[in-house]
Amino acid sequence: MPDVEEAVAAAFREEWGQVVATLIRVTGDWDLAEECAQDAFAQALDRWRRDGVPRRPGAWLTTTARHRALDVLRREAVGAAKLREAAVLARDEGPYDPEYDGDDSGVQDDRLRLIFTCCHPALPIEARVALTLRTLAGLTTPEIARAFLIPEATMAQRLVRAKKKIRNAGIPYRVPPAHLLPERTTGVLGVVYLLFNEGYAATSGADLVRTNLCAEAIRLARVLARLMPDEPETLGLLALLLLHDARRRTRVDAAGELVTLEDQDRSAWDRAEIDEGTELLETALRRGRPGAYQIQAAIAACHTTAVTAEGTDWADIAALYGELARFVPSAVVRLNRAVAVGMSEGSDAGLALVAELEHEGDLAGYHLLPATRADLLRRSGRTKEAAAAYEQALELVENDAERRFLEKRLAECRSA
């Protein structure tokens, strides 16, 4: 019965985080919660085949996992207080009722609790990312290890350490109180964005497991947008990810070579993602509380809604980067603004901004600084100076696909 397998797979994608989140609240034990959630999904395969797919798979899975937890705790005869709590909660909810269609708001809070706990700033950033993928998205440890190109044992240890720190350092399992919420929300969004970028940076077919991270990040961003609808930055982040993802498949050609934005096949961009992203962005901006993700999404929208590369509104983009620099005072943002200014006002204006950045030295060693100068010089026909700048960039670049791209540009400049 492939239908049941599909139903379980769909429930896994939709409900895993929810089931684990509730079980963590009930048992206070992260490992037990994962174990019982796994067990519930395994049982679902058999039971749904026999009894049919329940009307509310999430509630069925949570109840089943909770009963399992109760069994384990009873058998181990440890944690008497935990057992009482789990028993009370099980009783309060009563037996599983397939017709029940009531309020889930309390349970929804569990998933938010889990997100905020996984992304607690007291945990190392790599641990936050790994924990989010494991407990919330349901990726296995080997999958996460492969996605981050590290040995499985290292990833397993990272997860164990993170859970240990949560327990021993007293990281609270909750949605932060109002005074902490803004900064913690920024932290959560940052983890999801980092996750997406890990996948987005992957270019070759061998990196397929990494591109899966993009899909996971979008899924998490959707959950956040649903759970925190009043926070425009959650909508902004989802919009940004969709608008980036729409172009993902055109960023490299069949041979695995990088394709620049202006040379990408615009007809191959994902229309549905662009439309959804643009709409989300408009909804977010109407709230009148702009933020870094909304502005970046607006920049991405400028690119994805331009019918041709020549039709790109670079003046708008330059202004948006100026705005972004107020929220994210980073030299990289200013470098991007230099590109936009160079495109809208002419290479010399852009080169002047690049020279400022070179003088300040914050980006020393960053290959995109000479690469940007090279590109602006190339566009204004100063191929000899451009070639020298490409050579500098090549000394600094680490990514192979980018190296090949810069080498191609260098060869073009030399033969011009």
Binding site: H120, A122, N168, A169, G170, I171, P172, P176, L180
Partner: protein
């Protein structure tokens, strides 16, 4: 939850006695507003220049002058706190003048 707050100061900063701290309005504010009822004990330590590091190798006791690690900070004090969770401990630590005065405060859970 019980935590220990380790107050750190940059090496070379002026050193103040507990009595001088008591007269410092920043510390006075911290003691009055933040510490009341939650700090269960603590001491002020002398600076690293007064420290002696003790090492034991086998059954041999080795002494050296100063701290073991050469850093820009030294351990200047310690406090034991009793709060609900790590967030509250962090908030408390962040209120200590050392956290914003070029030093840092390490929050270390107490093993119970």
């Amino acid at each position: 939850m019980k935590y220990a707050l380790l107050f750190c100061s940059p090496v070379g900063d002026e050193e103040h006695s507990p009595a001088e701290h008591a007269e410092d309005p920043r510390f006075a504010a911290y003691f009055a507003e933040v510490r009341a009822g939650r700090v269960t004990g603590g001491v002020r330590l002398r600076p690293s220049t007064d420290a002696t590091t003790v090492r034991v190798s086998g059954d041999e006791v080795l002494l050296s002058d100063g701290p073991f690690a050469e850093t820009k900070e030294y351990l200047a004090g310690i406090a034991f706190i009793d709060v609900a969770d790590l967030d509250e401990a962090i908030a408390l630590a962040a209120r200590h003048p050392a956290a914003s005065g070029g030093g840092s405060v390490e929050v270390r859970p107490v093993w119970e």
